[in-house]
Point group: C2
Chain length 404, copies 2
């Protein structure tokens, strides 16, 4: 490919960032030739030629001069339609839509193979941190044991404000929204879904297996109370929203997203504000840590630019691990040690703990317990927990003799 001619879908903060970044990179040999938006005549901050804009997807998809579709729209349904149409026509695609990818990856991988066409999405997973590419290319062997990290900048920003700046949760959330880190509907971030969708994508490239989001236990931070923060502070830990995929034996791996008590000795303890941090653990290299800006217009845009540049050399994900013969299977049959804080909820009526290690009740301070519980039990009771004033946090322990 001598020059990349881009059809861009979406011109929100990320789309505008891409426009800036492509212009800045003198050696990129890439050009945005058409931009599809809902309302082409809307006034925009970024100085782009009005002739670039169109409201018609076909003006991009039917243009034989365009050799790359870059899709950064919010709407996952529309994203799916555009990405699929482009791939079916043999046009390579760069996408940043984690919701869409987490739900449609198996089909989109099949289409890539059948039509010999590339779909790249490094920007979907950790903003500017090259997690997918490294899992695919560098950790492309079966020595990988764990990928664990803080994948959502907004919820991490909120937790940092609360922990390090004594801010209230409500105030921190408002600030995150004002700074543009959090979506206007914050449940996507603070409910853990953003982290979950990224984890689904990461797992495909880490262990070669797709696990549908609804099969993965996900618990967010929206029910966090002052009592939880006090408790964590007393124990000398921070509460972070952590997503993890962990090989628990040669035959099995597990996945979950939930708040976690993180001790100062852990790398992710110092991942604060809107930053993301990912720990990759393997059999020979121990732990590696990657850290960077996980959110924001330009970091995401520069990650998209890396995918665009990769297309100059016809790069595509090979999904090698999907065809491995010795692949571990997904299990929720592991036991977690958890902190559960609740107010009026009949917690023992909902959750069957395998062991209660501590139990504290107080009319004034609320109640909490420390207990052991199978992950499968948490997953099964997810619906019943939703809406309850209950806060859950993982207390890292060894799974099946492995340090997590």
């Amino acid at each position: 490919m001598s020059k990349i001619k881009i059809g861009l879908f979406g011109f929100g903060v990320v789309g505008q960032g891409i426009f800036e970044v492509v212009r800045k990179s003198k050696n990129a040999n890439a050009e945005i030739v058409k931009i599809c938006v809902r309302n082409p005549s809307k006034p925009r901050k970024v100085a782009a030629d009005p002739a670039l804009f169109t409201a018609s997807a076909d003006e991009i998809l039917d243009n034989p001069a365009i050799n790359l579709v870059v899709e950064v729209i919010d709407d996952a349904q529309a994203s799916y339609r555009i990405v699929k149409s482009a791939l079916l026509r043999g046009i390579p695609v760069v996408s940043g839509n984690k919701t869409m990818l987490a739900h449609h990856l198996p089909e989109l991988i099949e289409i890539q193979k059948a039509h010999d066409v590339a779909l790249l999405y490094d920007a979907s997973s950790c903003g500017s941190i090259p997690v997918i590419r490294n899992l695919e290319e560098y950790y492309d062997n079966d020595l990988l044991l764990e990928v664990k990290g803080i994948l959502n900048g907004s919820s991490n920003y909120i937790l940092s404000r609360v922990f390090d700046h004594d801010d209230t949760y409500a105030n921190a959330l408002k600030q995150a929204q004002e700074l543009g880190f959090a979506e206007s509907d914050p449940s996507f971030d603070i409910g853990g879904y953003d982290s979950l969708f990224k984890l689904v994508i990461i797992t495909v490239h880490a262990l070669g297996t797709y696990v549908a989001p609804e099969r993965i236990f996900t618990y967010g931070i929206s029910t966090i109370h002052d009592a939880d923060i006090r408790y964590a502070r007393e124990k000398g830990v921070k509460i972070k929203l952590v997503a993890q995929v962990v090989k628990v034996s040669d035959e099995h791996f597990t996945l979950f997203v939930m708040p976690e008590f993180v001790s100062p000795a852990k790398y992710i303890y110092s991942v604060d504000d809107e930053y993301n941090g990912v720990v990759i653990r393997g059999e020979c290299y121990d732990r590696q840590f990657m850290f960077g800006k996980g959110a924001g217009s330009l970091p995401t845009a520069s990650s998209i630019l890396s995918d665009i540049m990769a297309r100059l050399h016809n790069y595509r994900y090979e999904y090698k691990k999907l065809s491995y013969l010795h692949k571990p299977e997904y299990t929720t049959d592991i036991t977690l040690k958890v902190y559960v804080r609740y107010t009026d909820t009949d917690i023992h009526g909902i959750l069957r703990f395998s062991k209660i290690l501590e139990q504290y009740t107080s009319r004034e301070n609320g109640n909490y317990l420390i207990g052991e519980i199978p992950l499968s039990e948490l997953l099964a009771k997810r619906e019943q927990l939703a809406g309850e004033d209950v806060f859950l946090a993982n207390i890292p322990i060894f799974f099946l003799n492995r340090d997590n």
Copy 2:
């Protein structure tokens, strides 16, 4: 390439690590078919079939079944001969020899092009941290501003012992050697040459320019005194041996390796013991940080395995940045702010400072000054400084309006 058949040169700690790692990785589809060593009949700890060993390089180079040479021998001269011979015969090579690469990269890049053959060397630069691959593939655009880090595990281990454990320098060095982090000739590590050679390789992939090692100012840690450690502690900083390539303007970049006062706000402050840490800074993504084990048999071996696996898919470095039209040039025409501690040396007789900011003299505690000095002046006086009881440390300031 359906299966990788490896001819291995060298069976020291790294070679043995590779042997282990290849065996561990069930899906690797790679096999070591011959091992060239100086003394094939020497008894070895690792249980390898004696028939695998040979003392003849040609038994590997002339074997048509071997489709990859992996070279992990100590001797840079021998490494050069082997790598060059293999490439000239069209056999792809994976090498971990930073000394050899730092001196011969331009020629080896030419040979790769002329003979359409790949040379991979990710393991040469930061042990298990995939710096080269990421600079080549992910940061493959001209938004990069800086790569800066702790690239040498041995000297970092020594400095950590001294700073965090109140150990003496001599004792720390002895420990590093006992633990196998330091070479038996420690000058390679503590003189800064290991970091220098890695920096030369990194710069080729960061900015597309090869700068010969002798053109780069390099100052090690062997002259560090208690007085320097006390001074740094009083200022609340740590002394780290830092290598850096920094774009100082659109037209110029600079390079140097020297001890640096690192404040707690910096990512590399917490890179302790034998770990390496690299900060990559760009125009859009701000700072990214990669952290991991930089030394040791298995971390290096797993990095070599990543290069081996990459060959399964015919991966090679494209050296795209070498052909960029807008490339910054190397300059030493920048001013550093430095701490200089000396005993009897006539420091003002050797170094011409552009400005003296502080000067302290004491018969009892030794003398130091804080001054500004051109990097070109330091480079010019390198020979005169060698052997003197002088300790130099960079105090990070802004270069030409850029935050370093």
